[in-house]
Amino acid sequence: MALSGEQSEAEVLLELKDIDMRFGKVNALAGVSLKIRKGEIHSVIGPNGAGKTVMMNCINGLYRPQKGDVFFKGQRINHLRPYQRAGLGMARTFQKVEVFGGMTVLDNIRLGRHVHFKSGVLSGAWYMGKTKREEIEHRQFIEEEIIDLLEIEQIRNKPVGMLPYGLQKRVELGRALALEPDLLILDEPLAGLNLEEVEDMARFILDINEEERWRVTCLLVEHDMGVVMDLSDRIFVLNFGNMIMDGTPEEVQNNPEVIKAYLGEEELYATRG
């Protein structure tokens, strides 16, 4: 795939090189390579079972691919565990929300902040001096940056399990943001949301990507073509473990192979609403 000069020069944040991932005889990913550059929204699309979530799991370390390398910020991270990768600045949300239902919204988000805490267990047990100061600083970050951004003031003290699905998804996004990641992997953030919630979520993704404060690079897995075409800088098309193409939304829309493999009928292009 020919890349435009400007984009190829931008710093590569994440790189997959020739990844193979097999489950028994099923070849979930076959020789997949991908480069994500700093500051872009890069989407991965493909039909159900194409291997999108497997690919995300390989990136954040839930799966170890049999072949190939994963580079993050120029560093080979094949051997790192998920929490170590999170420490490097990689956060994700899940296709099916994975929040702590019994905890409040605030506690869920605080949990995402945990990697940045420096004070130890003992100091935490006494909750004096350094720990206290540290917590106040983090509190400010959570309240001023995340809760305000995601507009969830009215539910900050509610247990997450009692909230509607759309809000749970927001909380999960909030928790991922609390990490202050450089790369945010969003696995179907819009699935199961109603039209209004989709619009809100799309706005949040743009805010996170574009606002000077955040500038988070996003890797987006999504089925909603309207949103994918609107938001993405580049789109990576996957089919049965094989890459079909990687290009701009325009190139993807006009590629006959993509249309045949995934997009199929033209109506699928139609944006929602």
């Binding site: 400010q140 309240e143 001023e144 305000d148 951004l149 003031e153 009215q154 606002e211």
Partner: protein, 646 residues
């Protein structure tokens, strides 16, 4: 009776020369850093703003407007949620010699265009992206509009139009001007006169296009003084400002009363958190339209239905005692000692907590007005020991003209005129008012002005009478009074508020003017009925389906039968149908203050109306719904018509 004159605590005088900016200046100098003028909950914490900060912000916004070219009498519009910046903008506009115009934050684009254009607005304050979008979309159609000012930067990163300016940039312009002319602000403030126009207020209009009422500084200030004469507030009081500034009641509390008393105005974090924030603050005074109190009643009723047996029994006990004691007080009887003891028990066991949850723990005076409120709701609050009072007023008297006095409350009246106000009933039964707060006239509408203002008397178009105790009783709008088939007069709002006392009913529209019998179109409360249906294991996909279920019709019928009890035969609801949607201001069915626009709904739902008086079981509906962002969707459904069996 609490008469201020005897206490002498309200020595404030409104001279002819006094303006809102002058009073603001006085208070800011008087209190400075030492007092909290307002508080806003931001990022989860209540942040105080002293009078000094308030003053500085207003000063630089005002000077900023002047450097943008604001001249005396220029209109400055404001739209957005209740927040300090909104009040600063209004005060700044007044200080700079401008006239303030407020728009409801949920106004549709068409309404914004009409008001901005009609008022000749030159500067528009919007809160953030949403308001800026609205303003930009009408910018080309409103040639007089020059600048749009915003204060919330969220989502504004890609807006670079020349007509936009941020509040901060505006204040910087003001600071520059202040350096060049350090006395300009004080000169501007001292220049005004009480008779000059301060606000241009668009009435919600149940019948036609909104009309712009011109209110002078003197109108606003005397109104506030007269209310404070009746029910004085202390400067240490707290008030929560969460109702739209475009509603005159909110202006009355935040500006007319707030400024002269100097109490702290608290702004909730978000509109959605208002109820929670009210509880945190525990205001001393409250003024809200009936729907807010109806909502509180409903939430108590729903929680009661959900509670455990023992909690329900305690509630029933305190409820019974509360009602009994309240009734004695209404009848001005002495409460015997054993009832006082029971009342104390009821307070300790239930009411204290209940009031705390509703944010009513510290309320000295709670007012309701703007629409009719049923006696059931009224008694409910008094049974909890909340001193709820009816008021009567309108935009054209800058707020209110009649209010209940403490200890002299009758729930079918709206009380007695406030000092300085004369109320008379014309031969036709119309209520007319004369006071120093009566407005100057309608903007660009001499015809309407002539109709409303005759010989200094404000004609309200409301019908009513003064009872033996000197209390004013208000019927509905003249054209909203029904003549029943037996020839008697009847107020549909009375029946509607009765119906709305049921937690399951959100809205009701009663029909029956010159008809053989009374019918009603009901809107169920989606959350409450939805929960009820969940418990009954009924499946439904949304409001339209839920509202048409036979079980829900049974439920609504039971509620109607309760409301029908002890009403004369001719005034009972005989037939009803459940509407497939809630009534909504966006569809023009309600005004922005949620009053039913009867003429409009009669036209819009003509099929339903006809079907209610025909011998049919269902009516077919084919219509469209408008969303706030202008999108429309089609509805195609059948509504059931149900007879109420006694």
């Amino acid at each position: 009776m609490q008469h201020v004159d005897s206490r002498g605590s309200n020595r404030f005088e409104v001279t002819e020369d006094l303006t809102i900016p002058k009073l603001f200046y006085q208070k800011a100098v008087q209190y400075g850093e030492s007092r909290v003028a307002m508080r806003e909950k931001e990022f989860g914490i209540w942040r105080p703003i002293s009078w000094h900060d308030y003053f500085e912000n207003v000063k630089y916004i005002a000077l900023g407007l002047v450097s943008l070219g604001l001249k005396d009498g220029d209109k400055v519009s404001m739209i957005g949620d209740n927040r300090p910046e909104g009040l600063w903008a209004e005060m700044a506009a007044l200080c700079a010699g401008g006239v303030g115009v407020w728009l409801f934050q949920d106004c549709l684009i068409e309404e914004v265009r009409y008001i901005v254009d009609h008022s000749d607005t030159r500067f528009l304050f919007g809160e953030g992206q949403e308001e800026v979008d609205k303003a930009l979309s009408i910018f080309d159609e409103c040639p007089k509009l020059e600048k749009i000012i915003w204060d919330d930067p969220k989502g504004m990163r890609n807006y670079h139009q020349d007509c936009l300016i941020s509040l901060r940039e505006l204040q910087d312009l003001g600071r520059d001007l202040d350096k060049r002319q350090p006395h300009l602000f004080e000169e501007l403030v001292q220049k005004g006169h009480g008779d000059e126009v301060a606000l241009l207020f668009y009435t919600s209009g149940t019948t036609s296009l909104p009309k712009g009422a011109l209110l002078s500084h003197n109108n606003m200030l005397t109104m506030g003084k007269h209310l404070m004469d009746v029910d004085p507030c202390e400067s240490s009081d707290d008030y929560v400002s969460y109702l739209p500034f475009a509603w005159i009641g909110e202006q009355m509390m935040s500006i007319s009363c707030g400024l002269q008393v100097g109490y702290t105005i608290n702004f909730p974090e978000e509109p959605e958190t208002a109820q929670e924030n009210i509880r945190e603050i525990g205001p001393h005074v409250m003024f809200a339209p009936p729907r807010m109190y109806e909502q509180m009643t409903r939430s108590v009723q729903v929680k009661y239905l959900d509670a455990t047996w023992i909690k329900r029994k305690f509630y029933e006990f305190s409820h019974a005692v509360g009602y009994r004691v309240a009734d004695m007080k209404f009848a001005k009887q002495k409460v015997p000692w054993h009832w006082k003891l029971l009342e104390w028990l009821a307070y300790i066991s239930v009411q204290k907590k209940l009031k705390d949850h509703l944010g009513l723990s510290r309320v000295r005076n709670a007012y309701t007005g703007g629409a009719a409120m049923g006696p059931d709701h009224f008694r409910f609050f008094h049974s909890m020991g909340v001193n709820l009072k009816q008021i009567y007023g309108q935009t054209e008297v800058a707020g209110i003209s009649v209010v209940h006095r403490s200890g002299d409350i009758k729930f079918d009246t709206v009380g007695k005129p406030i000092p300085g106000t004369e109320i008379k009933i014309t031969a036709e039964g119309e209520i007319i008012t004369r006071s120093s707060s009566v407005f100057l006239g309608y903007y660009k509408n001499p015809e309407a002005t002539k109709k409303a203002l005759r010989d200094g008397w404000l004609h309200s178009d409301d019908k009513g009478f003064i009872d033996d105790d000197g209390h004013l009783v208000v019927f509905d709008r003249t054209k909203d009074v029904f003549t029943l088939n037996d020839g008697s007069l009847f107020s549909p709002q009375y029946l509607e508020t009765r119906l709305k006392f049921s937690p399951y009913i959100k809205d009701a529209w009663v029909i029956g003017h010159q008809k053989p019998y009374i019918t009603a179109v009901m809107c169920i409360d989606y959350a409450v009925v939805g929960k009820w249906a969940d418990e009954k294991k009924l499946n439904y996909t949304g409001y339209p389906e839920l509202s048409q279920m036979a079980e829900v019709y049974d439920l609504v019928e039971t509620q109607i039968r309760k409301a029908n009890e002890d009403l004369p035969e001719a005034a009972r609801v005989h037939k009803f149908t459940n509407l497939y949607k809630e009534l909504d201001p966006d569809d023009d069915e309600l005004t922005r203050t949620r009053k039913l626009r009867r003429a409009f709904v009669e036209k819009r739902y003509k099929e339903i109306l006809d079907a209610l008086y025909a011998d049919v079981d269902t009516v077919h509906i084919d219509t469209t719904i408008t969303y706030e962002d202008g999108r429309v969707s089609k509805i195609n459904t059948d509504l059931c018509i149900r007879k109420v069996v006694d």
